[in-house]
Amino acid sequence: MSISEFLDMGGYAFYVWTSYGITLVILVANVIGPLRLRRKLLADITRTARRARKNT
């Protein structure tokens, strides 16, 4: 089987690769989401702690 044959997916290339593409995007997004949330939370907690110390 050649590479172009593989990519063609028996004429269903659009349907097959769109499905796998969307799957990849959604799976990656669901990992990036909590990674960014955690960084944001830690920064937020640090900021609140600094402000509290300044006020006392």
Binding site: M1, F6, M9, G10, G11, Y12, Y15, V16, T18, S19, Y20, I22, T23, I26, L27, A29, N30, V31, G33, P34, L35, L37, R38, L41, L42, A43, I45, T46, T48, A49
Partner: protein
């Protein structure tokens, strides 16, 4: 010893540490399983005698659909445990499952739609399987919206748990919809009582992808749960120490 282990695990500090160590391993396991699954599914498995190569959408569609049901049961089950025994970690796992569960439900619907177009000639039909799966997506979104609408974390956990438990009624409807109603969606081929009517060359990648998605869910739910724990415990000394190591 076991009791001690679970007691430690349920404490937020230990949960945060242990899950932090577990996540990279789950990530590596997911990548390896997916690579194996994609190799057997896209390269090794032969084309279907009726559907040609379009059936290869199955290797993401079916595991995603299984995950949409599995995660819902975990979400409702953990919610019930939190409701009855007031275990905070169960509440955390329950709400942390909602987003990733909604993602898999959306994925099952979209890949199914993309598969339906060349095979059924339409992107969408209002048949029992598709409609009940769409209702599942709305249930997930309802849980997320309800949780975001209530500021107090414990109250939010209780409210979402009740909504999730009520929605469990939809799970058997989705599962048996292809048997109870005359649907366009095909019946089960893997979980039939006699031998599964799927060839082993297609069953192997399907099961590999199913396990890969389970591992992925375990990873993402732990990542989300850690954020939820941080937020709930933000006024404790261990979280402050973590944010600003002296």
């Amino acid at each position: 010893m076991f009791n001690n282990f679970f007691h430690k695990l349920a404490s937020p500090v230990h949960f945060y540490r242990i899950s932090g160590r577990l996540i990279p391993w789950l990530g590596a396991g997911f990548v390896l399983l997916t690579m194996a699954g994609l190799y057997y599914g896209l390269v090794k498995a032969p084309p279907d005698y009726q559907q040609g190569d379009s059936y290869r959408i199955m290797f993401v569609h079916v595991p995603a659909a299984w995950m949409s049901l599995f995660i819902y049961i975990v979400m409702a089950g953990a919610g019930a445990i939190g409701l009855v025994w007031h275990i905070k970690l169960a509440e955390v796992i329950s709400i942390s499952s909602a987003t990733v569960g909604a993602a898999f439900t959306f994925l099952a619907l979209v890949t199914g739609s993309i598969w339906g177009k060349p095979m059924w000639g339409t992107w969408w039909v209002w048949d029992a399987r598709l409609t009940s799966e769409l209702i599942l997506l709305f249930l997930y979104l309802g849980v997320i919206a309800l949780h975001n609408a209530i500021d107090d974390k414990r109250t939010a956990a209780r409210a979402t748990a009740i909504l999730a438990i009520v929605g469990v009624v939809n799970i058997p409807i989705i599962h048996y919809s292809v048997e109870w109603w005359n649907t366009l969606h095909q019946g089960p081929t893997v979980t039939k009582f006699d031998a599964p009517s799927i060839h082993v060359s297609m069953l192997i990648p399907l099961l590999l992808m199913a396990v890969a998605f389970k591992v992925y869910y375990a990873m993402v739910v732990l990542m989300r749960a850690r954020c939820e724990v941080l937020e709930r415990e933000r006024h404790t000394s261990w979280v402050k120490q973590l944010a600003e190591p002296q």
